[in-house]
Structures are given as structure tokens and as C-alpha cells.
Amino acid sequence: MAKIGLPAKMENLEECLDFVVKEAKRAGFPSRRISEIRLAAEEVLVNIFCYAYPETGGDVSINCSGGEDAFVLEILDRGTPFNMMAAPGPDLSSCLSGRCVGGLGIHFVKKMTTEARYVREKEQNCLTLVFGKCRQK
């Protein structure tokens, strides 16, 4: 399993995502699927960077493991307890003027993952994202 740990700040987004992409490539995933993995990872990380540590700074850890059929991403933080997967999604039906500017990230994570699990353990938020070789439509 490959790991990376960095301060949960927007300036570290590229480094975190480069790490995820490198590991997904190493696991032999196709480039289209790697873009989808990158997207899900970005949505989770940006959420952590913006909301997990409202007063103090903190870290984010990413663990990657890739097998023949699945790539597993574990994203951990010690911030405010938050189950992203239980948060409501956006209203996709409204027109341009009524469309609200939020909630899409969660929707993308749900769409891109084969499976997503959340646990709060040892005062950590742990989100496990499982990606099959192809997105299930």
C-alpha cells in the first residue's frame, strides 16, 4: 500500500492528486478511468481542505492500493466528523437561473465510485472509495 500525508491545504491539492494518479497508473487502470478517480479524489480532498479544520490546521492522509480489478483509495482526516456520502446531492432538474452552486462534488463521488464507505474511527474520518476498472453507468 502506498501512502502520503500532507497538511490539508489547497496548495497541496496537486501533489495529492498527482500521487493518486501515479498509483492508479501503476495499478494498470485505463486513462479515462484515472480521470474519474482523480475527480472523486479532488472532490473529497477539496471538501476536507475547506471544511474539516475550521479553526485549527490539520493533516490529510491518503492510502492507495491497486489490484487486478479494483483500485482502493482511503482518505483520512482528524477534523470535524462528516459523512460526505450521507450529505444530500444537488437538484439536477432546475434551469440555469435556479441552479444552485453546490452539492455537485458529492454527486460526482457517488457516480464515479463502485463503492464508497465512511467510518468515524479513532477520532478520524475515514472514507474508502473503491473503483472498478470501468464506471458502472
Binding site: V46, L96, V101, F108
Partner: protein, 111 residues
């Protein structure tokens, strides 16, 4: 991400975006388009031919820009979506709220 001001075609200002539009780069897109609107551009074509990746932060910037133009009775057209970017526009429902065309020429023909 790179933003290229291609110039004017018919009534439209054409802007080409290249690379990745993520949480880090999206504010730059918004700023750049906002500057164009402030200069008086009310009809804009955004060419995403060179765009390989977009996240919700990127879509948010597109939406904010589109709303701004709409509030001034202008119009924004998005062209040349492909791969994951096209998929993201479809999944998000953006394909139904922002006019999308196959190319700059196709957009100009129907505009």
C-alpha cells in the same frame, strides 16, 4: 490550465481553455471571463477542445459565469466537449442548462 482569447467571430468572443480546470485553476477562468464581460462582451463561446479535465469547482465557475451573462441578457455557448469533460457535463445536468455545440463553427451556424 491556459486560457486563450481567440478573438471575435461574428458577434461572439471566442475563448479557448486548455488543460485541467480544477479547484486550483477554476478561479482563474472565472476572473478571465469576468474581465471579458466587464469589457462589454455579452456573447461568448467557450471552446473546451483542449480541456482534459473538469471538477465541480470548474463547473461552478462555468455556472457563475453563465448566470452573470444571462443577467445581462447575453449568451454563453460551450463547444467541443469530449471524453471525461463531456461525461461530467452530462452527469451534472449542465448539458441541459447551458447550450452545447460540436464546434465553434457549428455554434455560429445555429446562433
Amino acid at each position: 490550465m491556459k486560457i486563450h482569447q481567440i478573438g471575435q467571430k461574428k458577434d461572439y468572443h471566442v475563448v479557448a481553455v486548455e488543460g485541467r480546470m480544477d479547484a486550483v485553476s477554476a478561479p482563474e477562468f472565472e476572473k478571465s471571463l469576468n474581465a471579458l464581460i466587464l469589457e462589454g462582451a455579452l456573447k461568448i463561446i467557450v471552446d473546451f477542445e483542449g480541456l482534459d479535465y473538469i471538477s465541480s469547482a470548474g463547473l461552478r465557475s462555468v455556472l457563475i459565469t453563465a448566470k452573470k451573462i444571462q443577467s445581462k441578457n447575453g449568451s454563453i455557448l460551450v463547444v467541443s466537449l469530449h471524453g471525461t469533460v463531456k461525461e461530467i457535463f452530462e452527469i451534472s445536468g449542465f448539458s441541459t442548462i447551458i447550450p452545447i455545440h460540436a464546434s465553434v463553427d457549428a455554434a455560429l451556424e445555429t446562433a
